[in-house]
C-alpha cells in the first residue's frame, strides 16, 4: 500500500514517452497508452485486495485507512511542511476503479474514434497526463498535493478541450474552462491557506481532527470551507462557475466522456466528500453546498431541456447530476453522493461515447439534423437508450438506486421544499433525456445526407459501449449487502463508504419511497414520449406557448452575456488604470526618467575631461588634500 504512488506514475511515464517520442513509436503509441491503463486497472485490483487485507491472511476482511507520508521540504522545523502523502480509504476505493476503468474504456474507444486525426499521438499523451493527475488527486493525503494534482487535471483539460486548436471556438472554450476554474482555484488556495494558518498542517486527516476538536473559531472555519467549496464549484461546474462545461464540448467526444462526465468534474465532489467531517462542524458552509447544488441541478436541467446539440444536452445533464451529488453532500450523506458518483460515471460516459458514435458516423451533432438512426446503428441505439434510462432513474437500473438514495436522504435530513425541487429536477431529467433519445434515434430522419452517412461503429468503439451499458444496468446493485459480500466487501456500499457521523448502514428498500421515485421517473419518460414522439407537434406547440421562457433556457439565462459585460467593464476598466500607471509612472518617470537624468549629468560633467595633464594633476592634489582633511578630522 505504500507503493500506491505507482498508480499515477504509470500514466505519467506514458505521457512522457508519448509526448516526446510518439513519432517514433509504431501506431503513435496508442497501444502503449492502453497497455499502461490496463496495468493500472489491474493494479487497482491489487490495491483493492490489499485494502481488504487479502495479502495479510488470504481472506477479505474489513478495510481501514492506510496513510503514508514522506517529507519533502521542511521550512522552519515543521512550520511549513511539504510532504508527499497518500491516504487510501473507502472513498478512495470508490474513485480508483471508476477513474481507471472509465479511462480504459475511453482509451480503447479513442483508438477507433480518433483514427486518422493529426496529432493522434499527442491525444493519447494528454489523456495519460490527465489520468495520472486524477489518480494523484484521489490518493493525496494533504491539501497541497491535492492542489498540485488539481491544477494538473485543469491543465490536461485545457490541452484536451483545445485539441482542435485550429478552430477558434475550441481555443476560446479551452481558455474559458481554464480561466473559470482558475477563479475557483484561487478560492481553494485561500481556503487551504486559512486552514493551514490555524492548524499549521496541510494534512487532511490532521485538519479534520483539529476541526472536530474545536480548534477553529466557527466563523473562521465557515469562511475557509466556503472558499474551499468555491474551488470545488469551479472544477465541478456548479453555479456560478458552470459556464465552462457546455463550451468544453468543443473537445473530442471521448475527452468529454472521460473528463467532463466521469472524472475531472467529480474532483470537486471528491474534495467536499473528503472534507465532509469538517463541513459537518460548520453547518452554514454545508448549507451553502446544499443550496448551490440544488440551484445548479434545477438550472442545468432546464437548460438541457432546450439544447439542440446532443453533447450540450449531456453537458447540462452532467452539471445537473453533479448538483445532485452536492445536494447529497450538503445534507451530510456521503454514501449517497459517492454512490451516485459511481453510477453516474458509468452511464454518463456511456452516453457521451454513444453520442460520439453518432457524431463519428453522421458528422452531425445537432439533433435537428438527426433522427431515425435506430435502424442503421442498433448497438449504439440500445446502449444509448440504456444509459438514458439509467440517467432518468428507471427502476432497477444503476441510476435509480443512487438517485433514490439521494432523494431519500434529502427528505430525511433536508427541508421539504428542497426535496420537492430535487424531485422535480429528477422528473425533468427523465424528460430531457427521453427527448434526446427520441429526436436522435427514433422518428423520421430530418437530414437525409446525415442519415445516409450513418453506419454502425466498429467493434473497438461498440465493445466499450456494451461493457459500460452492462455496468449501467448492474452497478446499482452494489448497494445490497449480498452483492457487496460476494465482491469481498463487508457489505453493501452503505456499509463500506460512510461518514463516521452517518454510521454504516445496511440498505433496506423503502418500497413506498421507491415507488414514488420510480413513478416520477416513469412519468418523465412518458411526458417525453408524449411530446417528442413522431414529429414532435406537442413540443413545438409548447415552445410557442412560452417563447420567452424557451429563450431564457436556450440562452443559458444570459449568464454568459452578464459575465462578458462584467469583464468588459470592470476587468478592462481596471486594467486600463493599471496600464496607465505602468506607462506613465513606471515607464516614463521611472525608467526613462532615470536614464535621462543620468544622461543630463553626463552632459554637464563631461567638461571635466579636458585632456590636459595639469588639470588632472590639480584634481589629484585636491583629492589628496580632501582625504588629509577627512583623515585628520576624524582622528
Amino acid at each position: 500500500m505504500e507503493q500506491v504512488w505507482i498508480l499515477p506514475a504509470i500514466p505519467f511515464a506514458t505521457f512522457l514517452v508519448l509526448g516526446l517520442f510518439n513519432r517514433f513509436i509504431p501506431r503513435r503509441g496508442d497501444g502503449l497508452a492502453v497497455l499502461g491503463m490496463a496495468a493500472v486497472v489491474v493494479l487497482v485490483g491489487v490495491v483493492l485486495a490489499d485494502f481488504q487485507n487479502f495479502f495479510v491472511d488470504g481472506i477479505f476482511t474489513p478495510g481501514g485507512e492506510h496513510a503514508y507520508a514522506e517529507e519533502w521540504v521542511d521550512i522552519g522545523q515543521g512550520f511549513f511542511l511539504i510532504e508527499f502523502s497518500t491516504y487510501v480509504d473507502s472513498v478512495t476505493m470508490v474513485m480508483l476503479p471508476v477513474v481507471s476503468f472509465v479511462a480504459l474504456m475511453v482509451l480503447v474507444y479513442s483508438i477507433g474514434y480518433m483514427k486518422g486525426e493529426q496529432r493522434y499521438g499527442w491525444y493519447f499523451a494528454a489523456l495519460s497526463l490527465f489520468v495520472s493527475a486524477m489518480l494523484l488527486l484521489v490518493i493525496s493525503g494533504n491539501l497541497l498535493q491535492l492542489y498540485l494534482a488539481w491544477e494538473g487535471v485543469g491543465l490536461a483539460s485545457y490541452l484536451l478541450i483545445g485539441f482542435y486548436w485550429e478552430r477558434q471556438a475550441a481555443a476560446e472554450a479551452a481558455k474559458k474552462a481554464f480561466i473559470t476554474t482558475r477563479i475557483g482555484d484561487v478560492g481553494l488556495l485561500i481556503g487551504i491557506i486559512l486552514l493551514w494558518r490555524v492548524t499549521g498542517s496541510f494534512d487532511i486527516q490532521e485538519i479534520i481532527h483539529a476541526a472536530q476538536e474545536g480548534v477553529f473559531d466557527q466563523t473562521y472555519l465557515t469562511v475557509a470551507m466556503i472558499f474551499l467549496f468555491a474551488g470545488a464549484a469551479g472544477k465541478s461546474a456548479q453555479f456560478p462557475f458552470h459556464v465552462w462545461l457546455p463550451d468544453a464540448m468543443e473537445g473530442p467526444t471521448p475527452v468529454s466522456a472521460l473528463i467532463h462526465a466521469a472524472t475531472m468534474v467529480v474532483a470537486g465532489v471528491y474534495l467536499v466528500a473528503r472534507m465532509l467531517p469538517v463541513y459537518d462542524e460548520v453547518l452554514i458552509a454545508r448549507d451553502v453546498v446544499l443550496y448551490t447544488g440544488l440551484l445548479t441541478a434545477l438550472m442545468a436541467a432546464t437548460m438541457g431541456l432546450v439544447a439542440t446539440d446532443i453533447k450540450r444536452v449531456l453537458a447540462f445533464s452532467t452539471v445537473s447530476q453533479l448538483g445532485f451529488m452536492f445536494v447529497a453532500l450538503g445534507v451530510g450523506a456521503l454514501t449517497a453522493a459517492m454512490f451516485h458518483l459511481f453510477t453516474h460515471a458509468f452511464f454518463k460516459s456511456l452516453l457521451f461515447l454513444g453520442s460520439g458514435s453518432v457524431i463519428h458516423a453522421t458528422d452531425e451533432q445537432e439533433v435537428q439534423e438527426l433522427g431515425g438512426l435506430r435502424k442503421k446503428m442498433p448497438v449504439t441505439t440500445i446502449t444509448f437508450t440504456i444509459g438514458s434510462l439509467a440517467l432518468a432513474g428507471l427502476p432497477f437500473l444503476a441510476g435509480f438506486w443512487s438517485k433514490d438514495e439521494i432523494l431519500h436522504d434529502l427528505q430525511k435530513h433536508g427541508p421539504m421544499w428542497a426535496y420537492v425541487v430535487l424531485a422535480a429536477t429528477a422528473a425533468l431529467t427523465a424528460i430531457y433525456t427521453t427527448r434526446v433519445v427520441l429526436l436522435t434515434f427514433f422518428g423520421k430522419p430530418k437530414n437525409q445526407q446525415a442519415y445516409d452517412r450513418a453506419h454502425e461503429s466498429p467493434p473497438i468503439m461498440t465493445v466499450p459501449l456494451m461493457i459500460l451499458a452492462a455496468l449501467a444496468i448492474v452497478a446499482g446493485f452494489v448497494t445490497y449487502t449480498g452483492v457487496g459480500e460476494a465482491l469481498g466487501f463487508v457489505g453493501g456500499i452503505g456499509e463500506v463508504v460512510y461518514l463516521p457521523a452517518e454510521g454504516a448502514h445496511r440498505f433496506e428498500l423503502d418500497w413506498a419511497f421507491a415507488a414514488g421515485a420510480s413513478a416520477t421517473a416513469v412519468a418523465g419518460v412518458v411526458i417525453g414520449v408524449a411530446y417528442w414522439w413522431g414529429d414532435a407537434k406537442r413540443a413545438a406547440a409548447a415552445r410557442n406557448w412560452a417563447p420567452e421562457l424557451h429563450q431564457l433556457f436556450a440562452r443559458r439565462y444570459y449568464i454568459d452575456e452578464l459575465y462578458q459585460a462584467v469583464i468588459n467593464n470592470v476587468v478592462m476598466g481596471a486594467s486600463r488604470v493599471v496600464a496607465w500607471f505602468d506607462k506613465k509612472v513606471v515607464n516614463e518617470t521611472g525608467v526613462d526618467g532615470a536614464t535621462q537624468f543620468i544622461g543630463f549629468l553626463g552632459y554637464r560633467l563631461k567638461f571635466l575631461q579636458t585632456g590636459r595633464i595639469p588639470n588632472y594633476a590639480l584634481g589629484m592634489a585636491l583629492g589628496v588634500a580632501a582625504l588629509a582633511v577627512v583623515a585628520i578630522g576624524t582622528t
Binding site: 563631461k606 579636458t610 585632456g611 595633464i613
Partner: protein, 102 residues
C-alpha cells in the same frame, strides 16, 4: 639641537614649492624637477623624524634610501615618456597632449 619643527617647516616649504611647480609648469622636464623636489622634501621629513624621535629606530633613514632609489628609477621611466611625447608632438609642453578629452 635645533628644534624638530624647523626641519618640518623646511620640508613643508619645499613640498609646497614642488607642488606648485607640478601644477603650474608647462614643460615636462620642469614638472619632473618639481616632483624630485617633492620627493626630497619627503625624505627630509623622514630623516628628521628618525633622528629626533627615537635614536635606535632608523627606519626613517632606510625609507629615505628607498625614496632616492625609487626616484631615480621613476625619473628614468618618466624621461622615456617625455622623449616619446617630444617625438610625437615636437614639443615638450604637457598641454600639447590633450587629445583624450570630451
Amino acid at each position: 639641537m635645533i628644534p624638530l619643527e624647523n626641519f618640518l617647516i623646511l620640508s613643508a616649504i619645499l613640498f609646497a614649492t614642488g607642488l606648485y611647480g607640478v601644477l603650474a609648469r608647462r614643460s615636462a622636464i620642469l614638472i619632473l624637477m618639481s616632483v624630485e623636489l617633492m620627493l626630497a622634501a619627503v625624505s627630509i621629513n623622514f630623516i628628521a623624524f628618525a633622528s629626533y624621535l627615537d635614536g635606535d629606530a632608523f627606519s626613517g633613514l632606510i625609507f629615505a634610501l628607498f625614496v632616492i632609489t625609487v626616484a631615480a628609477a621613476e625619473v628614468g621611466l618618466a624621461l622615456g615618456i617625455v622623449l616619446r611625447l617630444f617625438r610625437e608632438r615636437q614639443t615638450a609642453y604637457v598641454d600639447s597632449a590633450d587629445s583624450m578629452k570630451w
